[in-house]
């Protein structure tokens, strides 16, 4: 899949400025940058949720998982109804338990409401719903941003496992380089709507080419004294 010359404008403000990005099949491309750098606008444009100019080639069946698992599930729908939303009626009864299994949730949760679930469980439900759309490309926009570290690890493991298992292509967005590094094959660094650097993960982190990448690297929180 290829994004070419993608530009998103809100009124006079250019949120995404002429971005070109290649997402090879089965690859995970990480996008990092501070808030307001255009990461989410890029994600929403690729998902078709905001108007854009430019071209998106080879994009079939795109699904997205959102940042806030408390806002992305309809409070009045059960987990089963939410996960089954994109699935034909006759296949729902078999598909919903399978999808819940994929994200390592017990099938009994299908009858519950989002308010009865923890943040990590909700985010798994959101991932299951996206997988129900049988995506060729999965966009994950800051999906661990509102989760606890103890839960973040399990969600990241899950995402990595799913990618290997299902051969998904992914656009994985986060402001935390340590998180992106864990999931992505290549990392694109976004700054003020433009991609300032894009390369293999170890290279971007080991030998950053752009000043802004170095700023981001320095901002990753680290425990003092950790050897």
């Amino acid at each position: 899949m290829r994004i070419e010359g993608l530009t998103v404008r809100y009124g006079g403000f250019t949120a995404v400025d002429d971005v070109t990005l290649e997402i090879p099949d089965g690859h995970a491309v990480g996008v990092v940058g501070e808030s307001g750098s255009g990461k989410s606008s890029l994600a929403r444009a690729v998902s078709g949720l905001v108007p854009y100019t430019g071209r998106i080639e080879g994009a079939t069946r795109i699904q997205m998982v959102f940042q806030d698992p408390y806002a992305s599930l309809d409070p009045r729908m059960t987990i089963g109804e939410t996960v089954g939303e994109g699935i034909a009626k006759r296949r729902r009864a078999t598909e919903v338990p399978r999808l819940l299994g994929l994200v390592q949730l017990p099938a009994e949760l299908a009858g519950r409401y989002p308010r009865e679930l923890s943040g990590g469980q909700r985010q798994r439900v959101a991932i299951a719903r996206a997988l129900g759309g049988d995506p060729a490309l999965l966009i994950a926009d800051e999906i661990t941003g509102s989760l606890d570290v103890s839960v973040q690890g399990t969600v990241l493991n899950l995402v990595r496992g799913l990618r290997d298992e299902l051969g998904l292509s992914m656009l994985f967005i986060s402001h935390n380089l340590a998180v992106v590094r864990y999931v992505a094959d290549t990392i694109a660094v976004m700054h003020r709507g433009r991609i300032v650097e894009h390369g293999p993960t170890e290279q971007v982190i080991g030998e950053p080419a752009h000043d802004y990448t170095r700023t981001l690297l320095a901002a990753v929180p680290r425990l003092r004294g950790r050897s």
């Binding site: 939410t82 690890g153 981001l216």
Partner: protein, 628 residues
């Protein structure tokens, strides 16, 4: 234990920027307007059911000998031009009047909701057309709309009902549109769109159920309006025609004789007024009850046992001993927590979501929402029991910064004015002085061009700038303690870094202590002097921050540290996490709360709870396997 309430404990205004909300949720229903409204509506409902059954015959009985009489013992409201008893007629007319009002409201609501929902399903051009039409209709006077419709559809009850329905519809349409637009922007609607769910289905499944509640509230209020409107129509002769009669018709008939017998018009007029008032009061109450249950409450019972545990520490800025926060239904999110902070010290409070961090902060500031109960052995700020501090004293001594800066800022007011308000209220400063201090404080938190920013509204500032403004607001007084609850969680890494640096500088400069709450153990480890780890409402470990990585002893702390990805973790291996979940605040058992997830748990852990005990230098741990 002697009970005191938050109000008489003087903690009404803890931080100068807390939205006030007096009363309790139940209180909404115990207020006079609610009681009156409820009683009136109940009365009307009973009347509608039994009125025609009891007085139906009396209302129709023609008495040629008693035509157009005034009030008498036999006919308390007099009689009409056929000698029928007017009191009976008023009581009987209730059913018809209420039924017509209900019908008109339903028609108005249905048309309105359909019009309001259409823009969500129509293509862009059609949507704009409908929106424009609704806007024009909202601007049009309701009564004119009603009369026009009534005249066009023919005199009589049908015309009047349609007319009032049409008059109500635009308001409903506007409300539906606004509510629907906000739900349509939700992530779950975006997710449904991406899954190819058709617009009609999105409307039926996502949008309507989520806006139903406010619409139903509006229905109750509209009913009162419809009743008055219909009476008005009948009174103008546009409504119910004889031999049928509703209150408006009785009023119309009585009005002809008002100079002869004023009481013949009095009965129906009073009935209309009472019913209208009843429905409006009930509608108001419903609306207030709904907003109460979603908004936070802060009128909490606070109890302090008279017996103090141990000697107070005279040097501590904050001393918390045996703090418990509980809610009805057996939920106890904070359990016997103790904590003390020295002047100038930065203490981090970490723990996963739901461990009780925010409620601990809320208890310190006297902000635990109703119906929570706070008990403590000791809760002292700057050496004084918080219960003895006046709102003013607490407001100056304690500054609170929350995750969402917009929760502390009023979107309608300019930033500078809001800061100045704090100084005017708490320090009795003059307006001009307060304003000058506000600009000075904004400069202090490194807001560029403070004088210009002071004249901006909160939404004109970026997220980081808003959080700076909130910190500046806390600095309007001379705080001894700053409590910051997830102040940087909503900000991205680079801005987060700036805010953390700012907090550190503020502490160094003012000598205030900082209680920094976060679920991000990395951030806490970097910023703080000392770390307090909470799990299921209790402190499980306390240690100097720079020893977090190497010397953490409690299995939970160690697991937290291990699950933190950094730039050196091995990408080939799965990230560490903690399997399972923290027990809910109502489900914490007798033993160690972590036992269900702990790799070291033994039988003893499940039945007996480990106390927090000293474990090496400046470290305390609550774990059987570590300390014994």
């Amino acid at each position: 234990m002697g009970a005191r309430t938050a109000a008489d404990g003087g903690v009404e205004q803890a931080a100068g920027h807390v939205k006030k909300g007096p009363g309790r949720r139940g209180g909404v229903w115990r207020s006079a307007p609610a009681l009156i409204g409820g009683a009136l509506v109940l009365l009307m409902a009973v009347l509608a059911v039994v009125g025609p059954i009891i007085w139906g015959a009396a209302a129709e009985r023609i008495d040629a000998g008693a035509i157009l009489q005034g009030a008498s013992a036999e006919h308390p409201l007099g009689t009409d031009n056929l000698g029928r008893d007017l009191l009976a007629r008023v009581l009987v007319a209730g059913r018809y009047s209420l039924a017509l009002a209900l019908l008109a409201t339903l028609i108005g609501a249905t048309v309105g909701i359909v019009l309001g929902a259409l823009p969500s399903v129509l293509p862009r051009r059609g949507a704009r057309l409908v929106t424009g039409a609704v806007n024009a209709l909202v601007a049009f006077p309701g009564l004119l709309l009603a009369m026009f419709t009534a005249v066009a559809t023919g005199l009589g009850a049908r015309g009047a009902v349609l007319g009032i329905g049409v008059a109500i519809a635009p308001g409903f349409a506007r409300l539906t549109q606004t509510l629907a637009a906000s739900v349509a922007g939700a992530d779950y609607v975006a997710a449904a769109r991406m899954l190819g769910v058709p617009r009609r289905r999105i409307l039926a499944r996502h949008i309507l159920p989520n806006i139903a509640e406010p619409l139903i509230l509006n229905l109750a209020q509209s009913l009162g309006g419809a009743l008055l409107g219909l009476a008005g129509m009948s009174f103008l002769g546009l409504g119910v025609q004889p031999p049928d009669f509703d209150w408006g018709r009785l009023l119309f008939d009585g009005f002809t004789w008002i100079y002869v017998n004023p009481e013949v018009a009095l009965g129906p007029a009073a009935a209309v007024a009472l019913a209208g008032i009843g429905f409006n009061l009930l509608g108001d109450t419903l609306a207030r009850a709904a907003s109460r249950s979603s908004a936070g409450q802060r009128d909490t019972a606070r109890t302090a046992p008279p017996e103090r545990a141990g000697e107070p520490d005279p040097d501590a800025v904050l001393e918390v001993h045996d703090l418990t926060v509980s809610f009805p239904g057996g939920s106890t999110p904070v359990r016997g927590l103790s904590l003390s902070i020295a002047p100038g010290e930065i203490v981090g409070l970490v723990g996963e979501s739901g461990s009780g961090k925010s409620l601990t902060a809320a208890a310190i500031g006297g902000l635990v929402p109703y119906p929570g109960t706070v008990t403590y052995g000791r809760l002292r700020l700057g050496g004084a029991d918080v219960a003895t501090l006046s709102g003013k004293e607490l407001g100056t001594a304690l500054a609170m910064v929350f995750q969402d800066p917009m929760a502390s800022l009023n979107p309608a007011l300019k930033v500078g004015g809001q800061l100045a308000e704090v100084a005017v209220v708490h320090q009795g400063a003059s307006r001009a002085d307060a304003r000058r201090r506000a600009v000075d404080r904004l400069g202090h938190v490194q807001l560029p061009e403070p004088a210009k920013q002071a004249a901006q509204h909160p939404h004109e500032l970026s997220g980081g700038m808003r959080q700076r403004a909130v910190i500046a607001m806390g600095l309007m007084g001379t705080p001894r303690l700053i409590v910051a609850d997830e102040p940087t969680t909503a900000l991205d890494v680079t801005v987060q870094r700036q805010i953390l640096r700012l907090l550190r500088e503020v502490v160094e400069e003012t000598g205030a202590a900082l209680l920094f709450i976060s679920h991000d153990i990395a951030v806490v480890g970097e910023l703080c002097d000392r770390v307090v780890v909470m799990y299921a409402g209790r402190v499980v470990e306390e240690l100097p921050a720079d020893r977090l990585a190497d010397d953490a002893a409690h299995p939970y702390t160690r697991a937290l540290v291990a699950s933190l990805p950094d730039l050196d973790t091995d990408r080939g291996r799965p990230l560490a996490g903690i399997p399972g979940t923290q027990p809910a605040p109502a489900r914490v058992g007798a033993g160690c709360a972590f036992a269900g997830r702990c790799p070291l748990a033994t039988e003893r852990c499940r039945s007996e709870r480990p106390e927090l005990v000293v474990h090496g230098l400046r470290q305390r741990v609550a774990c059987w396997e570590v300390t014994s």
